[in-house]
């Protein structure tokens, strides 16, 4: 079977991990405002990214994601202590990434609220630049 590959199939992909409480709603807000961004962005919804072990992120890179943005709830986080744990864990992921020679700017921990439209778009924009540089 011969398939014509769309340019998108090979385009670098970005995984966006969002929280139900804040950033997922924030991503909806962006949609409601009809702001536009590229479709190589895959939004994953979780109660809190604190659930992911370190190897989850490395596995994502291995499987084909070029960039990961973790949009946490930051100080708005409904779960006690979760943000601190998460940022510590991401710090450990960075160490492993360095060891493995993966540029650390391919993983970004940030905070996006339910109405943070501009922050959301800016993070995507920044990461698009990173993954395009990597691809080039």
């Amino acid at each position: 079977m011969s398939t014509v590959e769309s340019p998108d199939t090979n385009a670098p992909k970005i995984l966006i991990i969002t929280t139900i409480a804040s950033s997922y709603t924030g991503a909806n807000t962006v949609g409601q405002a009809r702001a536009q961004y590229a479709p190589n962005t895959y939004i994953m919804r979780v109660p809190d990214p604190v659930m992911f072990p370190e190897d989850f992120y490395l596995r994502c890179f291995e499987k084909g994601f070029s960039g990961i943005i973790i949009m946490s709830s930051g100080s708005d986080c409904p779960y006690e202590g979760a943000y601190g744990r998460l940022s510590a864990r991401v710090g450990r992921v960075y160490l492993t990434m360095r060891e493995k020679g993966i540029p650390t700017n391919r993983l970004k921990l940030t905070t996006v609220c339910t109405v943070c439209k501009h922050a959301f778009l800016k993070e995507i924009d920044d990461m698009q630049k990173v993954v395009r540089e990597q691809a080039a």
Partner: protein, 580 residues
């Protein structure tokens, strides 16, 4: 025909057009065809409105016919309709958690309008990810929390009083906690109420009498909530008195504060002839029909300036304490100001009154008549724009008046009344403690303005009155009634059904390493069973954050409905190629 074993997951996939909201951008037929190729997908359809009755019927019929036992719907945001379709599955007698909602509207068709191919491919990948996730999903059961038939109302203003009375009428016990020393809130400040003109004191007396009569309402004044614990159906509030209150639900009726003009705005604080509307109303209340005298000087002319502390623009207005301006409309001030003006004019017909506004927002029932009455009373109106604020001078106010084609007009004024807005009360600590969401205007955020207007996203919290947004008495009474109505339904049974998304442990895999224990922030939620030497979870106390999951080396811990395996399967689906 599918060659799946009967006990294997049979997935039905439904792609919603959402009118043209999705199908105008995404090739929904192609998405459905592509998903149909998945070995576990036995039905893959597209449909104009999945949320419509006909759409839901389609799902029900497919389930009832035995063709499918897992459902994936790619449509709008799950925030809107995940619950709708769970109920659909329930109607078809299928476990409602064997359902995955894929968002291809807010996060695909709406944001990739210019790239139909890219959006379609993304939709295919997201729908596939949904299929992979649901394939690994087990039948979850709702957790039933005990329903304590006791409600905590925080705030003893009219909204809190009204909510308490409503719930007492349904035989729910209520504890009403008021920070100040007396019930009634801002009703104490008011003279007469618009549009009826009735006396605020009389109304308050009536309400207080009803509250006093009710054996089910316990009033605690001069008290705050100092500690907060528990979950819907079983909250525990610790009061400043040291007492604790057990409640199944809580109504936030914490009210509002007046905006105090900041940084010498309109010379407020510096010029004794500049005051605010609340202060004028207080004066009206105490001066009982007498002509207006301010600082011992009889007043002949008054200028009212609207939108002080409301509808502010960055760069024009000084920011509030948190660095943001109040860009919202305070809703009640236009009518309140005009009502007070009419009261003044009735007392003192020869008083010259000037009203400087941006838009007169007498929107409510009977409000426009108040505006008209003010006009007929001879009040002279001036309209200014946000970028040309009126200027206070010696005994005059100067304004660039739109109604006079932008000419500068000099208005004589012995007294300037700033029509100040409303802001969120000083409840920062309380809502931090309760972890309640706040909107950009600092008021408490409802779960959805239309679907769940008086509920907070956090289970068991309800909103009544001005803590949610500025509203007048009629509106906050309605909000209090609506919140009470939701609680009457919530606490009507002996238990409250809760989402089952909590941590769970495969005790076979648990090595008893105890690494997870310090990760948990919720007392009693995760603990070591002394007998088995393995970790255990108390589902009613677990909040489902998943912090413990990440550190479990043998992967014995997982979050029900959000397992790492599911997430990994989704990642794999997202990166799998889509044929063009």
């Amino acid at each position: 025909m599918s060659n799946l074993e009967p006990n294997e997951p049979h997935v039905g996939v439904y792609i919603c057009h959402c009118g043209g909201n999705i199908s105008d951008v995404i090739d929904v037929k192609r998405v459905a065809t592509e998903l149909g190729l998945h070995p576990n997908v036995v039905i893959s359809r597209e449909f104009p409105f999945m949320c419509s009755d006909a759409g839901q019927k389609l799902v029900i019929e497919d389930i009832r016919s035995g063709k499918i036992n897992r459902v994936v719907i790619a449509a709008c945001s799950p925030m809107l309709h995940e619950l709708t379709f769970r109920k659909t599955l329930q109607r078809a007698a299928l476990n409602p958690f064997l359902y995955e909602h894929v968002n291809i509207r807010e996060q695909a068709s709406w944001v990739h309008k210019g790239d139909h191919e890219g959006a379609t491919q993304k939709a295919i990948r997201l729908a596939r990810a949904g299929v992979e996730k649901i394939l690994l999903q087990d039948e979850l059961e709702e957790i039933q929390a005990k329903a304590t038939k006791h409600v905590l109302v925080i705030g003893g203003g009219p909204a809190g009083l009204k909510a308490a009375l409503n719930m007492a009428a349904r035989n729910l016990r209520v504890t009403l906690v008021e920070k100040s020393s007396r019930l009634g809130g801002h009703l104490h400040e008011l003279d007469t109420l618009y549009p009826s003109g009735e006396s605020a004191s009389a109304l308050l007396a009536k309400l207080l009498a009803q509250v006093n009569e009710s054996p089910l309402i316990t009033v605690v004044v001069g008290t705050t909530v100092t500690a907060w614990d528990g979950f819907v159906g079983n909250f525990t509030a610790t009061l400043s008195s040291g007492a604790t209150v057990n409640a199944g639900a809580v109504i936030m009726a914490t009210g509002y504060d007046h905006v105090i003009p900041a940084g010498g705005e309109y010379n407020y604080g510096g010029d004794p002839r500049v005051t605010t509307l609340p202060k004028l109303i207080e004066h009206l209340k105490t001066s009982a029909g007498k002509p207006l005298v301010w600082n011992g000087v009889p007043v002949k002319s008054v200028a009212f300036i609207h939108c002080v502390g409301s509808r502010q623009t960055e760069g024009v207005h000084a920011p509030q304490a948190d660095g943001k301006v109040n860009d919202y409309c305070s809703r009640v001030c236009c009518t309140a100001a005009l009502h007070s003006i009419n009261v003044l004019k009735a007392r003192q017909p020869d008083l010259d009154i000037y009203d400087l506004y941006r838009d007169i927002r007498t929107y409510g029932r009977g409000h426009e008549a108040i505006y008209e009455q003010a006009s007929k009373n001879g009040v002279l109106f001036f309209r200014f724009t946000e970028d040309a604020q009126p200027e206070i001078r010696e005994h005059t106010v100067v304004v660039k008046d739109i109604l006079t084609w932008g000419e500068e007009v000099e208005i004589p004024a012995d007294l300037v009344v700033l029509v100040t807005g409303i802001k969120q009360g000083a409840v920062g600590e309380l809502i931090d403690m309760m972890k309640l969401p706040v909107s950009s205007d600092r008021f408490l955020q409802e779960a959805h303005p239309k679907l769940r207007p008086v509920e907070v996203a956090n289970n068991g919290f309800f909103l009544a009155g001005n803590c949610q947004a500025p509203m007048d008495l009629v509106e906050s009474s309605a909000a209090a009634g609506a919140a009470a109505s939701k609680i009457a339904a919530l606490l009507s049974k002996d238990y409250i059904p809760l989402d089952p998304y909590v941590a769970r442990i495969d005790s076979e895999k648990c090595t008893g390493c105890e690494a997870c224990i310090p990760e948990c922030s919720y007392t009693g939620a995760l603990f070591m069973n002394e007998g088995t030497k393995k970790a255990e979870v108390n589902a009613a106390l677990c909040k489902g954050c998943g912090a413990c999951v990440a550190v479990c080396a043998p992967r014995a811990l997982d979050l029900a409905g959000w397992s790492i395996a599911q997430m990994e399967a989704m990642v794999d689906a997202m990166v799998t190629e889509v044929p063009a």
